[in-house]
């Protein structure tokens, strides 16, 4: 069982790398935000599985819940920051590519 869980943890680490590819390449800043979000979810999953491998799911689950809250607050904060910045610049910002390049 432990070997299977370790294989799963490795697989999820690989998925984190793939999601980081989208963060690096994403044409708009929202794509980067989504990539960060899925990396956060994968980190939560990884923590739960690692806690199970080490036989101490209690403490590691607390850590995972903390990471879930941090991920949520972080993405919402960035989204609201973009909202405020757009409002302060006025509504004449219409191009899709401009959103990513000045972020």
């Amino acid at each position: 069982m432990t070997g299977f869980l370790m294989a799963m943890a490795l697989f999820i680490s690989l998925l984190i790398g793939l999601a980081l590819l989208r963060v690096w390449a994403g044409p708009t800043i929202y794509d980067r935000l989504l990539g960060v979000g899925i990396v956060g979810t994968n980190a939560v999953l990884l923590l739960a599985i690692i806690g199970f491998i080490y036989g101490r799911p209690d403490g590691f689950l607390d850590l995972a819940i903390t990471y879930a809250i941090l991920n949520f607050v972080g993405v919402v904060a960035v989204a609201k920051f973009l909202d405020v910045r757009r409002a302060s610049r006025g509504e004449d910002h219409q191009t899709a590519t401009g959103a990513g390049e000045d972020g």
Partner: protein
């Protein structure tokens, strides 16, 4: 003995299903053409993938306290995924990111393709 075998098999099945959904979400994040399609793939991975993995891990736990923690974790990530999906989509729409196929983004759909 037999019950343990059945529980272990169910755990492996749930974990593999969850991993499949995470793989599908990541592939969708890499391959889908615009931010709205990617949101769809991402929230699938968040809700279904994490749900299956949490169910699989919860079968192996021995105390209800840890199962409750896992349930809280799943609920948190689920509500976070819904809120993030709404926020990012509304922000992108307000910023002027056109959905694929809306006509206005015909010239840009080629440049938004994944490398």
């Amino acid at each position: 003995m037999t019950l343990e075998l059945v529980v272990d098999g169910l755990t492996v099945l749930f974990l593999l299903t969850g991993c499949f959904f995470f793989l599908a979400g990541t592939v969708g994040l890499l391959r889908f053409p615009d931010v709205y399609c990617r949101l769809h793939a991402l929230t699938k991975a968040d809700s279904l993938g994490l749900g299956f993995v949490v169910a699989g891990v919860a079968l192996q736990l021995r105390s209800w306290h840890e199962v409750l923690l896992l349930g809280i974790l799943w609920f948190l990530v689920l509500s976070a995924a819904a809120t993030i999906c709404y926020l990012v989509a509304s922000e992108a729409l307000a910023q002027g990111v056109d959905p694929v196929g809306s006509g206005a983004s015909q010239g840009q759909s080629g440049t938004e393709e994944a490398p």
